[in-house]
Subunit: 187 residues, 4 copies
DNA sequence: CATGAATGAGCCTTCATTCAT
DNA sequence: GATGAATGAAGGCTCATTCAT
């Protein structure tokens, strides 16, 4: 087991977050927090110190997913071709939806009507990211000018929600390629 | 107290179903079943007699929602103008999604990978319904020929899932009018 | 199923008693009364009419077992050889213990210290029966004179309680033959 | 309130075991586990942490009874005269039967036919203990040579099971003295 | 800081009992 | 009389949370 000799509590927090993401997406937003602690090889008290309740943990997981997405944009844009970057990012976006579909309704129960700053701001971050990637590809002439960046995401969303089975990922991944391909300028 | 004579335990069942739908959509798929029983003015044993567990209740609510949708198609088609019928049905469809968004992920945890007959068959019923309504409107010349019926539903789905707040209904209702309007043949 | 056209409630009672005996001995004294009713193809209300509570049912089962034993003595003595009668009755006694082992501790919880008429009187009936059978066999010279009838029963009891497994019946049945054989006068 | 510091949760466990023994023997094997927890001044969760279900608790109580018996043999043999040790141990054995009579049938429902290691092994331990004590007394010339150690136990068993009332202890205790007395070599 | 034992409210479920048919 | 739907008080068990170590 990867027991840290000194208390690198930040890394600990990150670890819990990863385990929690996994647990939420595979078992729903009401998994036992004790189980999450157990899977993370951490006492319930430790989990509680980092995240005082389920809501806090859900929100933290969600924010970390969005952060992952934003970081990826920067990195991909810097190291890949425009189309590859777009494609890689959209594949990541599939994972994000996985979490979003579970976390979002759960958090809405807590927020319960209050205009939520969380989804507002993270939504903007994501839009900015996809816009950046698309714009870059349009500018370099790699994809058509008339592509609405958000439509790319909505399409993935659509598959995720309309799919009859819980395993919509395969379909979504195929769709990414189709969207990229269909977005190429006709010659 | 609205004490029912025992003969119509069917009406009792229906009543529980309504309360359950309400509870699930407003408080998530893990509301206390005891609370549902309480809200339905029914002992927990009675709820249990009708639905032996959460899964059964979820499925029953879901099926009843789909049945409502199918019945509505018949009724609306028989009593309204083509466009009005389409519009009324789509408004009902918003309610359906409300339930679907909560029930579907929850049931997937139970079904857990098994190719589920439930969503397969209900999906087909719903597709048939919208197709029927659109076809009728196309035939009577009230809407354009090139409307893909499923796109109408996908659009609603999109709003439901992409909306930042839990209260996407308003937006969805507006969208229905836009879709209907946009589907009218240009002259 | 043997549904009676007219309400022969006595036979109904007898039927419940049989089912109850079976249920108690195989599943312990705290089986669900509902289950017993179900297995007897009877509504819970009917069971309740005949036996107002678990205690009443337990006692009725117990009394019927003892009655069975007493009736058997009469019958066997009238129709079999002395040794055969003794043997057959002791085999029946094994079944009786089966019930007694379960019912007796359960009833003691209800009686809770009160000097119980039930076990006193039934005990006497059983002693009288075994004494009658043994006496008859002694008189006819088929078994030794110095056999204490109660020792025959105590031996069976001993096996029933000391046996490590729940399935002591086999051992007990073997013991019956040994006892009968060992009781034969040596020549 | 006798609040224990958390380190000796072992003592806590022991305490629950004692309460459980008491509850099982006086109220049968289906007492409410919640009630046991309450009587032990412990939350139900704590009881559950130590014993995940009724079967585990029953088995633990049973094993602790046997352990008590084995420990007593050692202790008594070391500190008492041979006859006193035998007598004291047999009085303890009466308590053991009290538990055995309740626990054994209950566990058999769980084990349900499987050849149970539990009763096999504990049976051997008990036999070894009584044999040791009797042998010692025989060797020192304090009791007759022809005493079958197991018969001493079987006699107690017999009283326990054949007694009409639930309060057979008195009779059993008298019997112990008679047995010891009767086992003394005639001079 | 981390740990994990303890807590106790509350969930799901069962089941003896009642009562309308 | 028989039926079985309804009731609701527990029971078993879970799990978020606290707190002693």
């Amino acid at each position: 087991m990867d027991k840290k000799p000194r208390a690198d509590s930040l890394r600990n927090r990150e670890h819990i977050l990863n385990i929690a993401r996994e647990a939420f997406t595979t078992s729903g937003a009401s998994v036992s927090l004790d189980d999450i602690a157990k899977k993370a090889n951490v006492g319930p008290g430790t989990l509680y110190r980092h995240f005082p309740n389920r809501e806090a943990l859900l929100e933290a997981v969600y924010r970390s997913e969005v952060a992952k997405l934003c970081a990826a944009e920067k990195e991909f844009a810097a190291t890949m071709s425009t189309v590859e970057a777009l494609r890689a990012w959209m594949l990541l976006f599939i994972d994000y939806i996985d979490a979003k579909l579970v976390i979002s309704p759960a958090l809405n129960l807590y927020l319960c009507g209050e205009s939520n700053e969380l989804f507002e701001s993270t939504g903007n971050q994501i839009k900015a990211a996809i816009r950046g990637l698309v714009e870059r590809a349009v500018n370099s002439g790699d994809i058509r000018e008339d592509v609405d960046p958000l439509d790319l995401l909505r399409a993935i969303f659509g598959v995720a929600t309309t799919a009859s089975s819980a395993d919509w990922h395969q379909g979504a991944r195929k769709l990414v390629d189709i969207l990229i391909l269909g977005s190429k300028p006709q010659e």
